[in-house]
Structure formats: structure tokens, C-alpha cells
Amino acid sequence: MKEVVYLSELEKIARLSKLGFSAEELQSFLRDINDIVAHFEKLNQLDLQDVSPTSHLGGGEPPFFSDEPQAWEGSEEVLKGAPWVAGGYFIVPRIVDKEEKENEDRRI
């Protein structure tokens, strides 16, 4: 099988995702990813012009949950996985200029 994703790319993606893998794991992922890409290559041969992206889904009821809050027990662990934390916040490089700060609490 032709390799379209290289080990160097996989290592880069892992680094950007801040995930660490052993050499064996990387080899196994490399095989899987190339299989997946090859499968999509095969799908690309089909004419899907008139097929909507959600055509395979039935119109039935999706699963719902009822409006009862339930605390997640791992919330204390969350900050431990972050590279930079202060005062309970995730710390990121400053996002806005000082004069804009009042206005940019959120994007939505």
C-alpha cells in the first residue's frame, strides 16, 4: 500500500496535540491512518453529487438527557493536564490589546 501520511507528519500532529506516544504506538497509528486515507480515496471514486452529508441518518428521535445537573468528578484533575495554569484559570498568551479588553469578553 502506498504511504501518503509519513511518520514525520504524524509526529508533528502528536506534538501539536501535546500527546506523547511510543515508537510502537506511532507505527500502529501510521498504519491505521494510511488505511483510513486509502479508504477515503476509494470513496472518492463514487459520484456523490446529489447525496446530502446527512443522508444516512434517520429522522428519528435523537437521544436526549433530562435537565438535571450532575457534577463531573474529574473537574479537579482538569487543570493538572494544562501546560499553564494560574488562579484556577487556563493561561494563554494575551489575546487582545489593552484598549480592546473591555469589549472582548467573548466572540459569540
Binding site: 437521544p63 436526549f64 438527557f65 433530562s66 438535571e68 457534577a71 463531573w72 488562579g87 467573548r106 459569540i108
Partner: protein, 481 residues
């Protein structure tokens, strides 16, 4: 000066009153909580987590859509709106795109006494983003802090057509929209805390000029919506009159400086790469569910306002004040059950009741006074057992102690002095003590009479029957001539 037409459309975000978030079961009670304590793998966007929709979100959004006379689409779907910004860790917001929950509705409201209508283009459901902080002793220099407690709180976005033609109309439309979502218990509508947020698109055009749309953001109260849009009308008018172009851009309202400021770096239209969220199924709303919610819709503010005008013969202004808060409107009607004089009850509510609520910093539902207690007090005023002035002071105590009017009046030994003989004696004393005012009155100064009535009130600690006092004063003074 050229004649310009102002065109305004609103985009309003309301946080829905659910207990749990939109796609996970974290609590929505985030105000004042430690940062990043109401989070889970779903709202943090951790790999492998899957969203499951909270049914209540659909119900509340549907309630709002139906109240705004929207057409409910047979199938609805969630899309991913991709953007890269730290307030949403997933890298996309789950929102709705081409299949929102409702389209083509309308909203009616009064503006400066005239009934207006704004069409609703769409109402859709989406999730809120986290909170960024840029200031605080704990922040290392040159950084911002991210709190994900607000991530995934359900919102509805309501978009009007550009049917509003002045800043006043925009404000009044928004006030009605807020009243509706509060009445329906869809949202608490609190603009200061950001559970209701409003952006506006505004343009000025004339017969020879096509309007250029400017988006105004960051307006945190009805007053700032009005001020920001008024500022923007003047700014654009001035540019156009000077023959300068208006740029299509986003501008932020600066509440303190009272100006709108261009938001730099966002001139380009963003490509959000919308696509159907593969983790969430498209779904159809069952007819039974729609019908059930429709039949459960309560009387809306405008219907109530117009009913108050016809049923109780109140003016539009009076009715509008009463219906702005559903609890006040209910309090008004509950008071009428025991004391059926609408105009008088309305007057007391909008002046004295409001004043006491404001002074105590409370709401009618938390106040110690009940509708039947107010009715009892007003009955005593109406029967002239006590004067209006006395009643005001009694009401104050009712608000602080929760005691009944009758009890307070008895304890304080309050009773209206309506014994003519007794009042006449007091009047004569007052006349004797104030020869200058008597002379003033006799030389035609009407104001002097008010002063003398005031003196009688002072002598009787407000217990004199005002009307009787006035008559006796006039009678005694005319015999002095």
C-alpha cells in the same frame, strides 16, 4: 441637511433557563463560581467525548419561537461553526445554520405610544463560549485567563429583520423581547450579567445613497442600546453629509466615553466553515410536543397590556409599566380582587410600591407585602379612615415589618380627624400663628392656602382630613375678610 432613513436590525442572544448545560450535565449556575469547576470532557472539548442534547433546551427554544409567531421547520439540525479562539476549547461552536428551530416570525411592541411590528428572521439554538479575563493579580504579564464554566450554556439567538427605524424603536423592541422571554421563563433576561445580549446592525440611507451596514456590539443595557445607536446615527450622518464613506465594520460601544470604536482586525468576513455536526442527529419536532407547548403559552406582555387598557381603562403608558414585570402585573390583578379600583391601585403600585421596592433593593415576590394587604390599606384610604400621607408611611412599615395596615394604624393611634369642630379649632390656631400667610392669601396668593393646609397637617401629624381642612380653612378665612 439631507434626509436620511435609519434602518436597524437586532441580534439578541438569551441564555436559556436550564439547570444543566446544552450538551452535557454540568450545572449552568456559574455566576460567582470558582473558574473551571463546572466543566467536563464534553464542554472542555476533550477527545472522545460526545454531546447529548438536553431536552429542556429544545422545549424552551420552541416556546420562544412559538411566542414570536415563528414557523417551526419540520426538521432541525446542528452545525459546527468553526473558529479559533480560546473561549471555546473545541475549536468550534455547536450552532444552527440552514435549519434553525424557527423562521419568519414577528414581534409587536409599542414605541412612543404607537404599535409597531418587527419581523423575526430566525431563531436558533447554540452554545455559549467561556469567559476570558485580561486583568487580575494572578495573571502573568502578557497573558489572558480562560474560564470554561460558561462553555456550553444554552443560548437562543433571535434575529430580527431590519424593520426598526430609530434608536427608540430598537430599544423598545428589545424591551418587549426581553419581557417575552422573561414571561415565558425562557431566560432571566438579565443584561447586566450578560444572560441577555444585544448586537445591532445599523445603516443610514437616502434617496441617492445606499446604506452601509455597521454592526454595533457590547451594549449592556437598554439605555446603552439607545445611546450607542443614537451615537451611530449621528456619526454616520456626519460622515455622509461631509461626503465621506461609511465603512462596513464591527464597532464596540464604549459606555464610559459614550462612543463606538472600530474593532480592528475583524474587517474581513470570516469563514466559519459551517458543516453538519456529525456527532448530533438531525431531528424532527413531534407535532404533539409543538401543540403541547403552544397550548401552554401564557398571556404575553402585549396581550396583557392591551387587556389592561380595555378591561381596566388604563392608559397605554400605565398598562405598559405594569406588564413590564409579570410579577407586578399579577400583583396588580391580585390586589384588584380585594379592592376593585384599577386606576387607584395602579397609581399606588407605580409610585409608592415601586419606591419602597427600590429603597429596599428587592422585588415584589420577595417583599413582605401581599396583594390583599395592599388592598386593605387602599380600602382605608378610600373610606377616608386615613389620609394618603398617612397611608404612605403605613405602607413603608408594611414593607419593612410585614405587619398589616389595620394593625399599624391602631398601634400608632392613627385616625383621620374628620370632626369638623375639632379641625376648626386647629385651623383657628394656625391662622392666629401665621398672620403673614393669611394676609397673603387675602391679597390673592393661592399658594398661601397650601402653606396653611400644610401647617394644619403638621399640627395634626398628618391626620387631618385634607379635603375637610381645605374647606374649613377657606370658610374661616373668608370670615376674616
Amino acid at each position: 441637511m439631507s434626509d436620511f432613513t435609519t434602518t436597524i436590525g437586532l441580534e439578541v442572544h438569551c441564555q436559556l433557563l436550564t439547570q444543566a448545560k446544552m450538551f452535557c450535565r454540568c450545572s449552568t449556575d456559574y455566576i460567582g463560581k470558582e473558574p473551571n469547576t463546572l466543566v467536563c470532557p464534553v464542554c472542555l472539548g476533550l477527545p472522545g467525548s460526545l454531546p447529548v442534547l438536553n431536552q429542556k433546551v429544545v422545549e424552551l427554544a420552541l416556546r420562544a419561537a412559538l411566542a414570536l409567531h415563528c414557523q417551526i421547520l419540520p426538521q432541525t439540525l446542528f452545525h459546527r461553526k468553526n473558529y479559533f479562539y480560546p473561549d471555546l476549547p473545541k475549536g468550534y461552536q455547536i450552532s444552527q445554520y440552514n435549519l434553525p428551530i424557527g423562521i419568519d416570525g414577528f414581534l409587536e411592541f409599542y414605541s412612543q405610544g404607537v404599535r409597531k411590528k418587527a419581523r423575526i428572521r430566525r431563531i436558533h439554538i447554540e452554545e455559549d463560549a467561556g469567559k476570558l479575563v485580561h486583568e487580575g493579580a494572578f495573571l502573568p504579564p502578557g497573558t489572558s485567563g480562560v474560564d470554561c464554566n460558561r462553555c456550553g450554556i444554552p443560548l437562543v439567538e433571535i434575529v430580527t429583520e431590519p424593520d426598526l427605524s430609530s434608536p427608540e424603536e430598537a430599544r423598545d423592541c428589545l424591551m418587549m423581547l426581553r419581557n417575552i422571554v422573561c414571561y415565558l421563563e425562557v431566560s432571566d433576561g438579565n443584561m447586566e450579567e450578560g444572560s441577555l445580549r444585544c448586537d445591532a446592525n445599523i445603516s443610514l440611507s437616502s434617496s441617492s445613497l445606499t446604506g452601509v451596514k455597521v454592526e454595533v456590539k457590547n451594549m449592556n443595557s437598554f439605555r446603552s442600546v439607545y445611546r450607542a445607536l443614537s451615537y451611530e446615527v449621528e456619526r454616520q450622518r456626519k460622515l455622509l453629509e461631509e461626503g465621506k464613506p461609511v465603512f462596513q465594520e464591527t464597532r464596540h460601544w464604549d459606555e464610559i466615553k459614550g462612543v463606538t470604536v472600530s474593532a480592528r482586525g475583524k474587517e474581513e468576513a470570516e469563514d466559519y466553515r459551517y458543516f453538519p455536526d456529525p456527532d448530533l442527529l438531525p431531528f424532527s419536532l413531534k407535532t404533539e410536543m409543538i401543540e403541547e407547548i403552544k397550548s401552554g403559552l401564557l398571556e404575553l406582555p402585549l396581550e396583557k397590556e392591551e387587556r389592561f387598557m380595555t378591561q381596566y381603562e388604563l392608559s397605554q403608558g400605565e398598562a405598559e409599566i405594569l406588564v413590564q414585570d409579570r410579577e407586578i402585573a399579577d400583583f396588580f390583578e391580585d390586589t384588584l380582587r380585594n379592592f376593585n379600583k384599577p386606576r387607584m391601585v395602579c397609581n399606588w403600585i407605580v409610585t409608592e410600591v415601586f419606591r419602597n421596592l427600590k429603597e429596599l433593593g428587592t422585588t415584589i415576590s420577595r417583599a413582605k407585602i401581599t396583594p390583599s394587604h395592599l388592598a386593605e390599606l387602599l380600602k382605608m384610604v378610600d373610606r377616608k379612615e386615613i389620609s394618603g400621607t398617612m397611608a404612605k408611611s403605613v405602607l413603608e412599615e408594611m414593607f419593612t415589618s410585614g405587619a398589616r395596615a389595620r394593625e399599624i394604624v391602631t398601634r400608632r393611634g392613627m385616625a383621620l380627624i374628620n370632626d369638623e369642630k375639632e379641625l376648626e379649632n386647629i385651623v383657628k390656631e394656625v391662622i392666629e400663628k401665621n398672620p403673614q400667610s393669611v394676609a397673603d392669601y387675602l391679597s390673592g396668593k393661592e399658594k398661601a392656602l397650601q402653606f396653611l393646609i400644610g401647617q394644619v397637617m403638621k399640627e395634626t401629624r398628618g391626620q387631618a382630613d385634607p379635603e375637610l381642612t381645605r374647606n374649613i380653612l377657606i370658610k374661616v378665612l373668608s370670615s376674616e375678610e
